[in-house]
């Protein structure tokens, strides 16, 4: 098919889809409406389990099984990236030479690194109370480590980030989520049921039963997964070279 014919086909299909989408938008409940039956029930359930952040309650209590599916997607995608971006037989490692870093950049990066790391961990720890949680804090904590690359050089980053350790922790935290799920079964309730631990006092760090634990497991998993992903991409972009002489 020529490019022109393909463009016409896309425009034709796009026009049809646009008409259908517009028709659907006009029949949707109006934006900002007051009727949210599922939302109201989710809020009531979250308050009954003494979880202040309703979204954490939905993710790690009411829909904990779906979050496990999501975690498996994350784990499988990281596994796929590790397999796809491994060092092939016709490639070799060429460690980049240390480059000169401007002094203000170095100072700024090394100053913000601990602040960003602590912020990430704080966001994970307070997931059941305030906006945030394992997903957000994990990404922040993982990317903060890479300020080391800006502030120093690649060798320094590799010292604070042994990839094998992060790969193992990734797997361990994924299994921790499963173990917490099965603990519910052993305790005589259902898989991932939030009946194992006392619900605690509303709006304190240990409230919400099993929610903080699942949240922490997801936080560790996301942080390790992002570190491993970025490590594989950085290896490819910075270090791994193809053999030049065939």
């Amino acid at each position: 098919m020529t490019r022109r014919a393909r463009l016409w086909l896309v425009l034709l299909g796009g026009a049809g889809l646009a008409a259908l989408l517009a028709a659907a938008c006009l029949r949707l409940p109006a934006f900002g409406g007051a009727r949210h039956p599922y939302g109201d029930r989710a809020v009531a359930a979250a308050l009954a389990r003494r979880t202040a952040n309703t979204i954490a309650s939905v993710n790690f209590d009411q829909r904990a099984f779906d979050t496990m599916g999501e975690m498996s997607i994350l784990f499988a995608a990281v596994l796929g990236c590790v397999v796809l971006l491994r060092q092939a037989r016709d490639e070799h490692r060429d460690p980049p030479r240390p480059a000169e870093v401007a002094a203000p950049v170095r100072r700024y990066a090394l100053l913000t690194l601990p602040v960003a790391l602590v912020t990430g961990l704080y966001v994970i720890a307070h997931g059941q109370l305030s906006p945030g949680g394992g997903f957000q804090g994990g990404v922040v904590a993982a990317t903060s480590l890479h300020l080391m690359y800006l502030g120093a050089d690649y060798a320094a980053l590799e010292r604070v980030r042994p990839v094998e350790a992060y790969e193992i922790t990734d797997a361990l935290s994924a299994s921790a989520y499963l173990v917490l799920g099965f603990a519910g079964v052993l305790a005589g309730a259902a898989f991932l049921a939030n009946t194992l631990l006392p619900l605690g006092t509303f709006n304190t760090l240990s409230s919400g039963g099993v929610v903080p634990l699942l949240n922490a497991a997801i936080g560790m998993e996301v942080a390790c997964a992002v570190v491993v992903l970025l490590a594989r991409f950085l290896d490819q972009a910075v270090e791994i070279e193809e053999e030049s002489g065939e």
Partner: protein
């Protein structure tokens, strides 16, 4: 105002699809897919919005004192964002492999290679 957010979501999705179909570079195509994904976030959150309501977080407001927006769609969107990022990473890893094996990231040239 009543349908504008939905229409913006539909527009973002369609423009992303257009970019995907006309892209000459697989990396650019992955970026367009990220644009398509952001349309779903806008749609989901638009469905859950409630006029004059606040965020469904009760650490600083008394429960029941104010109406809150729908937390279920927000949890769905949160899942969506993270899964979207991992899909992007996986597709980019595939692109790196394609560039290694075939020496190009132009989908049209790749088709010619297949014959």
């Amino acid at each position: 105002m009543h349908v504008l957010p939905y229409l913006v979501a539909a527009y973002v999705f369609l423009i992303g699809c257009y970019g995907l179909a006309t892209s000459r570079n697989l990396i650019h195509a992955v970026g367009c897919l990220a644009v398509c994904q952001s349309a779903t976030y806008v749609l989901l959150l638009a469905v859950g919005y409630r006029d004059g309501a606040t965020a469904p977080v009760f650490s600083d407001i008394a429960p029941g004192s104010r109406p809150v927006v729908d937390p279920v769609v927000q949890a769905l969107t949160l899942t969506d964002v993270v899964v979207g990022a991992t899909v992007t990473a996986l597709l980019l890893a595939l692109t790196v492999q394609i560039s290694k094996r075939h020496g190009t990231v132009d989908p049209d040239e790749l088709r010619e290679l297949r014959g």
